[in-house]
């Protein structure tokens, strides 16, 4: 049997051969630099907000944290989804998966290797954003405090990316078509947001009037923490405190997504 490490090495090379992956790394570095440069320029401009000089208390740690926030809440989860769909549905469409599986490879390993390579891309782009932001932010603003919290948030953002990658691989291997996978992902994301809104409204209602049913209230509160979009956003606010329930939920969703992806490829007739 082909060792999984060899398979990961192949997928790693293929991922970086994609122009989109290399462009993502460049964009990640640019994001960190651009954020620090804009902050620095605004502070130097002497602009005033609510009576205080804008960004007067900015530090490198603060800049790194906000660069990370923009990376995660901006287009990088979407970028990850596109790369994962290309590596699954795209590789099915071009018969790359079929030709790979003429070798002594387990189908589940083909899924796992792609996932690990994508996770590597996520780590590289996160590191690029943080490294550039730190390299420019420290001389510009000084070191500052709170680094441990931001490193924790960065680590949790990898978990969020892993969740996106796992779901996108599942959609890609289940549909076998890039457009179908993207449609499924978008539908899934909208459903998750809809569920989150319902939970949020429910919690507001419960806090306002109460239900007299503590078990229901517990379930409702838990749902607000463990639904996919809440688990994905575990990095949000993690610079202050780590919510282990969100972390566990994210790991569980990643495992579920990967299992679904492996099952979808296992069941697929490779014509």
């Amino acid at each position: 049997m082909t060792p999984l490490t060899a398979l990961i090495a192949v997928e790693w090379r293929r991922l970086w051969a994609r122009p989109g992956a290399r462009l993502g790394l460049f964009a990640a570095g640019m994001l960190g630099g651009l954020f620090v440069a804009l902050t620095f320029a605004l502070r130097q401009s002497g602009a005033v907000l609510n009576g205080d000089p804008i960004f007067a208390d900015a530090t490198a740690a603060w800049a790194v944290g906000w660069a990370l926030w923009f990376r995660n809440a901006g287009l990088f989860p979407g970028w990850m989804a596109l790369l994962a769909v290309a590596a699954s549905a795209g590789d099915l469409e071009t018969h790359v998966v079929r030709d790979d599986l003429m070798r002594p490879i387990r189908r589940r390993d083909a899924v796992l290797a792609r996932f690990v390579a994508l996770l590597g891309w996520s780590a590289a782009t996160t590191a690029a954003t943080l490294a550039v932001a730190a390299a420019l932010g420290i001389p510009a603003f000084g070191l500052g405090v709170g680094w441990v919290g931001w490193v924790r948030a960065a680590a949790l953002s990898l978990l969020g990316d892993a969740l996106v990658a796992a779901f996108a691989l599942a959609a890609g291997f289940a549909t076998g078509r890039s457009l179908g996978a993207l449609t499924a992902l978008l539908t899934g994301a909208l459903t998750c947001v809809g569920a989150a809104v319902l939970v949020f409204v429910g919690r507001l209602g419960v806090s306002a009037v109460g239900t007299g049913n503590p078990a229901f209230e517990t379930v409702l509160n838990l749902a607000g923490t463990v639904l996919p979009q809440a688990a994905w956003a575990g990095w949000w606010g993690a610079e202050h405190a780590f919510d282990p329930i969100r972390g566990v939920a994210a790991v569980a969703w990643v495992a579920l997504g990967l299992s679904a992806a492996a099952m979808a490829l296992q069941r697929r007739q490779l014509t």
Partner: protein, 300 residues
């Protein structure tokens, strides 16, 4: 001869349609086995099922003594359809990737890539992007990929697709050389019957998802009745054959030439009997039955 591939009672359905039904086949070790059949007869489906790419509805498959396709694929190289290569890869990248997927240790990959590229005549072009390859070059690269790791069984689906006449000849020579020099068993599907007749030692003919004939090529070309055109005194020949059981006079086809059906006699026996009757035989042209004739009879 041991069997490299044995298939028993194989059935495959795709999209609710039966593609293969009760397929039995036997590919002897060391053979060059030509897999023939009309479009849609299930050749490619059968090859994909042997590789474990398609799940059969029922049936038993043994490849190189292994019933698990995952284990069998350690010793099988395959070229199915038009080979696919990852985007933005050079020929060398594609071969190196596949070498690693074949389980070849990283340190041995460069030498193995060079070996297979030379074997198919692509050594000078492996640095080019596969996106720029012609269809013929992609076929060669696909074959090179199939040869990685020195497989014992080579499965080739329409390997001459997209090749020019010189490329077809090279491919035919290469397949023969692989079977003879490298001791490989080759299972190839093709529509080119002349190529199969010239290359293969064995054939299997598929029709409607079932094998309707299988065996050595020579066996398929043999038939109990042969027709022969004979030159000489046609009246004398007709009289000479009027009371024999082994041959039937069919009539003249041109001045001094007639047609005879042999059923029991061979051509040398016919000639000897005519000469014994003092008939001067000026020409003997046996009908050469081609694989195409046999194929058309079997698949009509």
């Amino acid at each position: 001869m041991n069997a490299a591939v044995t298939v028993k009672d194989l059935a495959v359905r795709l999209g609710g349609r039966s593609i293969l039904d009760r397929l039995d086949m036997n590919v002897p070790s060391g053979a060059i086995y030509g897999f023939l059949g009309p479009n849609g007869s299930g050749k490619t489906t059968a090859l994909r099922t042997l590789l474990g790419l398609l799940r059969p509805e029922r049936g038993a498959i043994t490849v190189l003594g292994e019933v698990d396709p995952l284990l069998a694929r350690r010793s099988v190289g395959a070229l199915i359809d038009v080979p696919a290569f990852p985007a933005a890869s050079t020929g060398r990248d594609a071969l190196a990737d596949s070498a690693r997927l074949a389980g070849i240790p990283a340190a041995e990959v460069p030498a193995e890539v060079d070996r297979v590229a030379r074997r198919v005549g692509l050594a000078e072009r492996t640095r080019d992007a596969t996106d720029a390859y012609s269809l013929g070059m992609r076929q060669r690269l696909g074959l090179a990929r199939a040869l990685l790791g020195r497989p014992r069984l080579l499965i080739l689906d329409e390997p001459t697709n997209g090749l020019d006449p010189a490329g077809m000849r090279d491919m035919r020579d290469l397949v023969r050389s692989l079977a003879h020099d490298d001791q490989l068993t080759v299972l190839l599907s093709s529509h080119n019957l002349a190529e199969v007749q010239a290359t293969c030692t064995h054939v299997g003919v598929l029709r409607g998802g079932r094998l309707v004939a299988e065996g050595p090529v020579a066996g398929l070309l043999d038939r109990p009745e042969t027709e022969v055109e004979v030159g000489g005194d046609t009246d004398a020949i007709a009289r000479a054959l009027a009371d024999v059981d082994g041959a039937t006079w069919l009539g003249p086809v041109a001045p001094g030439r007639g047609r005879i059906r042999l059923h029991g006699w061979t051509v040398p026996v016919l000639v000897r009997r005519l000469v014994e009757r003092n008939i001067d035989v000026t020409a003997v042209v046996p009908d050469a039955r081609s694989l195409e004739d046999a194929y058309l009879e079997l698949t009509r």
